[in-house]
Symmetry: D2
Subunit: 353 residues, 4 copies
């Protein structure tokens, strides 16, 4: 029987890592994800696994690389500024194709931003360019503690399956919101042996003695093929009441939670509104969204920023469907806090329909 | 009379900064841009201006912030890994709206990549997400030493006009290629007084005593308006033999140089090929490219990566025109070096036409 | 039955720490002590204890502080430059009275010095001023792998007994010389509960929630009393054929090994030469040396530097006995390498007698 | 005519550096010396000289090295923790024999200590072991703003004369006490050309292209000779009413100021008390103090610590004269603040006489 427990998204991320067999956690506290670091600092040693608080996020990312290079499932978690400090390291790891997991619980940026409140402004950094070099990371965007728990588990699997960095892009609300979570360990089959392992000098069991860290055209061609495979196999999304909808809301993460409630409110008033929620934001469900959107005929993007997720929706829609944005100005408090509530979304829908 | 001198793109960047009145340069050597740092280390002190070699690129970016906050025209230059190390700082500066100039002479990434050869893999990082937070930097992409010299000058003007970070995105070939350059100081009118200046305690002349470094919804709404103004006023591009073309090459930077030669070769063979070159890559000339591309009917993107610039072209084309890519695999040497030569581009064009 | 094994001084230091119950090792490789770091990196995880390689020696010393503050037996090891980088941290730890153990395997300094050869130039730094603030560390100076093994064990005991940093001051020769070592775990009675432990907020079991890191006059008075107790109880030395000697050699560490052989050579020639070897160099056996030296009537200091240990001997002798120095110039190779051999010492003795 | 101005010791240090032709100042603010950093930040640029605030004291010391290696008169200033962070750098510089000046305005240590109050606990670190390696720095200890102004000037001269680091060891009271200062530029003759200058590749004008940073026996023998010359030529001290004294106070820096007043008070009561004040604390006036002390017959050391300066006095006295210490416990406030007042010293004298 699966244990069910009331926990928030941050604890879910930590617990997900532990049941997934994460053997090394390296992190530095930063709001609103410090609960993950705290949980791991307490639980990892109890399990005879490695917890190390770094000197800064620079240390975290390079220790993460070290952990992964040693063949162990390794993770860090961070937010905003800390995530940006990892840019060079993420790029470096990507050159090596080492499997690593990063949980980013987004806070409002740029700069130090506002740690204590919502915001979805890490989207473009995570999905487009976490570091120089044109590499890609798989980016999963949970909208609940349960999904956070599950995605962190899957992140380790995907990281090893493809030799890639996987980012679980949570946010303030998802991280701090508590809900009942089924603590079920997911089964992704036998663990894929890491292909890149430091093993002193020479090769061992066909493994490389040193990871690749340079990156020429051959590297890029290999990635191109890999990215295609990932796009084919790992694109995730879900719809809600979209089948008969004549108006579609597109949203991810905590904004999608609010949007789903707005759909319910709209339906209660007889409005045929539906929701499209990407679960993987890279790879992005471009074709899937296009199809659903063309059917609905009009799209409203809801995101707690001024248009980052919007770019991907626009690329999907190809100008063939009217596209609107309800961004950070939809918050009930523009001075830095707040959230875009379901009523505000409904109001926007009504003004457009 | 304007002095004319044979210099490479890196020296052109340094000289451009000096004639633009750059009063503080902060940098750390990294191939292939170290010539800029060297030039500044020698010339800035001679002019009683500040040169400071930082402990690392982390130091560079925060010193750049300090220089800009003091109301002085300030610049750094870097490449690849160094650029990524600046991510948090660029984000931090963007939150403050301090005017700063960064010259990035791209090398192949990700990771340490290959410093001694070409590559255009900093595109996505520079144009989409130099740091967390969803902010934007103006990104200019020179294709010659002359344009580098001119754009660096304009970069200081634009940075102050909009309160933004301006990136001059050069690359290995443009930086190391020598051509005659007219050393003409450009006139952008009277300098715009910096709005953000550290002046001890309290306000002075309407200036803020401390820059803003937090960023709530109000900040983002202000940026949204600013970004629109920039897109309206500062979008730059040029075309070459595109008027009657039935096949269009889209390229930027050094790849556009090769593409232009390929257009000449194609025209010599009677093929109606044209070129579209964005000069500003953010803001991107989306509508302008769409118009030219629709007229030509088919587009080939040439870029020395596996599809970063391609994303922006795809967004412009909206699926309405066949789109092809000649990427890093077009190099004559896939092991890490090389360049996509004009003959290779011509060959690709012919295979498509 | 005690296990006996042929190991060098560095391995002896690592093994000593492990049998003493060291639960956390934090270090950064530096010649000639890297064998300790390597050994600990391999063995500590096997024992479910903490090994962490730091970003630099700055990281090592502050992690050591963290380990000690958590109530665990903690150690670092280093040499020369790395030891100097720890100065502020050692001072900081000393203000807190946290028990810590540092093994310094001296290399020639100052600066980067010569890592691959002998030298006893860390003496003054270790015994007089490892950091600002006038605090003291207990400094033990082994002259063999066996003594290294034993002293590292005792170091943990002394550190906790007095709430002090204990330095085991080995050197290149002692660290790299292999001899049979009895791997006997020493018994110092029940472990003394650490008085300074981070335990969240508030006090627990009479322990402080936060270590003291300030240091006023009250702190210094407390230390003064502590230092007196240590001097009374922990001063260690040994003599060799000193009873009837009319000429005394004073030396510590590897130089004392050579000096002992020189004594044997001298005795074989009928010269009444003896040896005085401080085992603790802080506290220094001042009175004990004075007594032995007054009886012998003449003293030769042998040390592989130009007079650091000499200062302490001079303070002991009070100008009442002729004092000579055979320093680094006694090496068979003045260009940076070498060692002061027994024949050279004998020659010096003969020229003085 | 010499300008006379009421300034404190910190401003005197900064002004002394400027009139001495200091061309580069590199520092990081720390109480109680931040006034020096502030003054230099304002005045150096006005004079077209270099001011650079470092990222931390680690940066300061290595930039100081860089400035000195370029042949320019260079200085840093710091206190307590910052001084300790420089240990490796001071050692490194000493290996190169580059001339550098460090002003240390002591605060109470160890650790972060108490920045806002007195304390003379940097004595042992400065005079015995500022870094590993057994090198020496000349250490001058001013007791007034005037002497600070003069000694900083002389420090540059001595640093170049001997190729050594010169430390001006001020303290909280001397640094913050304001007195009229004659702002006279001292004349030490023509500047001695720096022997160690980075000049690209190869040698120039007999200068080395790269400083020596290794250190073998040959280096140490050279230093030994140098240290002897310095001891012969640069030992400084002064006495006050010591000729007929039958009780001698030995003190340095601000404690000597208090002691001098105590001597006046004692004399007013008919007590034949005198003062011996070392001005250079390395080299220490060992023989001079011995002579004066033997004549007086009894010595009281006054220092705001628990016995660092005492060691040097003890070495001088050779146990031939009764020796007492009035240390930090003589402060009117043992909790961390205070100063050892003249009345307290007088009381101690009376209790001993």
């Amino acid at each position: 029987m699966v244990e069910r427990m009331l926990i928030d998204g941050n604890e879910a991320a930590a617990r997900g890592a532990i049941v997934a067999g994460c053997e090394g956690y390296f992190g530095y506290p930063i709001t609103p994800q410090s609960e993950i670091t705290e949980y791991m600092s307490r639980e990892m040693p109890r399990l005879d696994r490695v917890f190390c608080q770094s000197q800064s996020e620079l240390g975290s990312i390079y220790m993460l690389f070290g952990g992964a290079m040693s063949g162990k499932r390794s993770m860090t978690s961070t937010s905003g500024c800390g995530f940006a400090l990892m840019a060079e390291g993420i790029s470096y790891i990507s050159a090596s194709e080492c499997p690593c997991v990063i949980v980013d619980v987004a806070r409002m940026g740029p700069g130090i931003g506002t740690g204590g409140q919502g915001g979805q402004t890490d989207y473009r950094f995570a999905t487009k360019a976490p570091g120089h070099g044109g590499h890609r990371c798989i980016v999963l965007a949970p909208w609940s503690p349960q999904e956070t728990f599950d995605q962190v588990q899957e992140a380790f699997h995907l990281a090893e399956k493809y030799g890639i960095v996987v980012i679980v892009l949570s946010d303030f609300i998802t991280g701090r919101m508590a809900e009942p979570v089924d603590l079920k360990t997911l089964d992704f089959g036998p663990r894929i042996a890491p292909r890149v392992v430091i093993c002193g000098t020479g090769k061992k069991n066909g493994q490389k003695a040193m990871p690749n860290t340079g990156s020429g055209a051959a590297y890029h061609l290999k990635q191109r093929e890999k990215y295609r495979k990932i796009a084919d196999a790992e694109t995730r999304y879900e719809t809600y009441l979209a089948e008969d909808a004549n108006f579609l809301i597109a949203a991810y993460g905590s904004s999608a939670r609010m949007a789903k409630s707005a759909v319910d409110l709209a339906r209660a008033e007889g409005l045929k509104v539906g929701l499209f929620r990407p679960i993987s934001v890279w790879p992005f469900p471009t074709k899937e969204l296009r199809e659903v959107a063309l059917q609905a005929g009009e799209v409203l993007v809801v995101e707690d920023s001024i248009g980052e997720f919007l770019d991907d929706v626009e690329l999907a829609l190809q100008g063939r469907v009217p596209l609107h944005l309800l961004g950070a100005w939809g918050r009930h408090d523009e001075t830095g806090g707040g959230i875009i509530h379901q009523e505000r979304i409904l109001q926007e829908v009504k003004s457009l329909v």
